[in-house]
């Protein structure tokens, strides 16, 4: 069994991710200890809150170089919600901020839209995962070899967010989700680096399946 850690950088409820992993038989520790992080084979970056605060906390704890090193060494990294957004190059959440830049792309505010398409922001609730154009081009093989392998298209997941990810390269968007007039990347993956905008630990059995895929698969050689 690979050693999984949940990165503690002071933001959000980390215990629900831990409990969900425990449910599938994985004992993950919540830590910001550098040695533990170096020893980890898989790293979950959870988080709820503001992008700027998230990056500042990572820097303050000296975690940024460790995450980048883990990424370079092919360790699997899963960002959840804010954790996914932090993987990107930059965010425009109340200003412009640099992210971890593990995947090219930016984080933009959701629009509440107009008239018939009007929606409430934050986007709170269940919504569908739709295979991206690149994935659909693989016909029935969509999501094969990715963290979503085995998940039905249009599966509902639980979202709570006001900002959405847009990748520079379309192939890094594995699944997208539509909300009002918004279309954003709900699952991102570049080889061993992946992220979910929704909360898999709060998305019922299908969310648990995604976590299971993350801990049990070796994504190092995967080319999407």
């Amino acid at each position: 069994m690979s050693k999984v850690i949940i990165l503690d950088y002071g933001l959000g409820n980390l215990f629900s991710v831990q409990r969900a992993l425990e449910y599938i038989g994985v004992k993950a520790i919540i830590t910001d200890d550098k040695e533990e992080i170096k020893r980890a084979e898989k790293i979950v970056i959870p988080g709820v809150g503001a992008f700027k605060e998230g990056m500042e906390q990572l820097k303050k704890r000296g975690l940024v170089p460790l995450i980048k090193e883990a990424a370079d060494r092919g360790k699997s990294i899963l960002g959840i919600c804010l954790g996914m957004q932090l993987l990107m190059a930059k965010s425009q959440e109340h200003g412009e901020w640099q992210g971890l830049n593990l995947i090219g792309g930016s984080v933009l505010q959701l629009s509440s839209g107009k008239n018939d398409n009007k929606v409430k922001v934050p986007h709170i609730g269940w919504n569908c995962l739709i295979p991206s154009q690149c994935q659909l081009a693989r016909n029935n093989n969509y999501w094969k070899g990715t963290i979503l392998e085995g998940i039905d298209k249009e599966s509902f997941m639980y979202f709570v967010h006001s900002f959405g990810v847009h990748t520079d390269k379309p192939e890094h968007t594995i699944a997208e989700t539509h909300y009002g007039g918004n279309s954003f990347c709900s699952v991102v993956q570049k080889d061993n680096i992946m992220g979910c905008q929704f909360h898999p630990e709060r998305s019922g059995s299908k969310g648990i399946e995604i976590l299971k895929k993350f801990v049990s698969y070796s994504f190092n050689k995967v080319r999407v």
Binding site: S16, K120, W126
Partner: protein, 306 residues
């Protein structure tokens, strides 16, 4: 797309799931944990645990139930009742809840909402508004689980909690609670047109078709219900979900602390039921048929260990 959440609300006293009418006359229906587990498997989109006696004792006593259910239930959980401080909230979130709903303490100290939103984020902080419709058709916010009046106009209070930073409003009609005559559409419409944060409609659902009305006419973002679901799954005859033996009913002091008449009769004659019970699936199907998007609830499957 925009989907509507279907939420099962569990009023809890001690370890027991209870349900009353207009916030009164609780009848014990079983253990809260078993119902919670059942609702998760049946496809509820979210759960609300309401400690019905917490405000009276000024504390929430659900920590143990939250801890135990958080190990096997992986949908959002909102906990309400007796939440008075940042420390209370931290404890409840650590135990496994995703959000807390605050009523009484917020009316006494509105800063609690803004402070809590700052510390935990607005997405964690739900304002619970329990509205009583007065003779002049105005709505007043009541506290202490329907035991105290406040003089606060419920609609104005809703606007205020939004500006304080609440992320959602759990809106319960006291007059309609447990009556099974449908939601108070006027109340829901008034509140949802006054705020921009999501409104969870609660109180009054009596049959599966009531849910669509709360969305279509009331503009609710989520619909919560208790009796409709509880009595559906509590029926032992052809829906053998719950089976209680004498031995399992004995849970110490708590079991005798409520009206267990209903349990003692094995749910048998289902006397004085004010609703037409429906399953979560039936409710969602009815909503789908009226053009409302809901998460399909056939998605549950057992997940085995890695």
């Amino acid at each position: 797309m925009k989907s509507v959440r279907v939420i099962a609300r569990l009023d809890i006293k001690g370890p027991n799931l209870v349900k009353g009418i207009q916030f009164d006359g609780y009848r014990v229906l079983g253990t809260a944990e078993e119902f919670a587990d059942l609702y998760y498997r049946e496809g509820a989109d979210e759960l609300i645990y309401q400690d019905v006696v917490a405000s009276l004792y000024r504390r929430n006593s659900l920590l143990e139930i939250i801890r135990r259910t958080a190990k096997k239930i992986f949908i959002p959980l909102t906990v309400a009742g007796g939440i008075r401080s940042i420390e209370n909230i931290r404890e409840i979130l650590r135990a496994g809840a995703d959000k807390v709903a605050i009523n009484t303490a917020a009316t006494e100290n509105p800063n609690l909402i803004s402070e809590a939103a700052k510390v935990f984020g607005s997405q964690c902080i739900v304002s619970s508004i329990e509205a009583f419709r007065k003779k002049d058709d105005k709505y007043e916010a009541w506290v202490d689980y329907g035991r105290q009046t406040t003089n606060l106009d419920a609609i104005e209070w809703a606007k205020q909690v939004e500006s304080l930073g609440a992320g959602e409003i759990l809106l319960t009609s006291i007059n309609y609670d447990g009556m099974g005559k449908g939601y108070d559409l006027e109340l829901i419409k008034k509140v949802s047109s006054s705020v921009n944060i999501p409104v969870i409609a609660c109180g009054g659902a009596g049959k599966k078709d009531d849910f669509s009305q709360a969305v279509k006419e009331g503009n609710a973002d989520a619909v919560a219900a208790a009796s409709v679901f509880h009595y559906n799954y509590a029926t032992p005859k052809d829906k053998p979900f719950m089976s209680y033996s004498e031995a399992r009913l004995r849970m110490g002091e708590h079991i005798d602390s409520g009206n267990i008449d209903f349990l003692n009769h094995g749910y048998g004659r289902m006397r004085a039921i004010t609703v037409e019970p429906a399953s979560i699936k039936e409710v969602k199907l009815s909503m789908l048929e009226s053009g409302i998007v809901v998460r399909s609830s056939d998605s549950y499957c057992e997940v085995k260990n890695v």
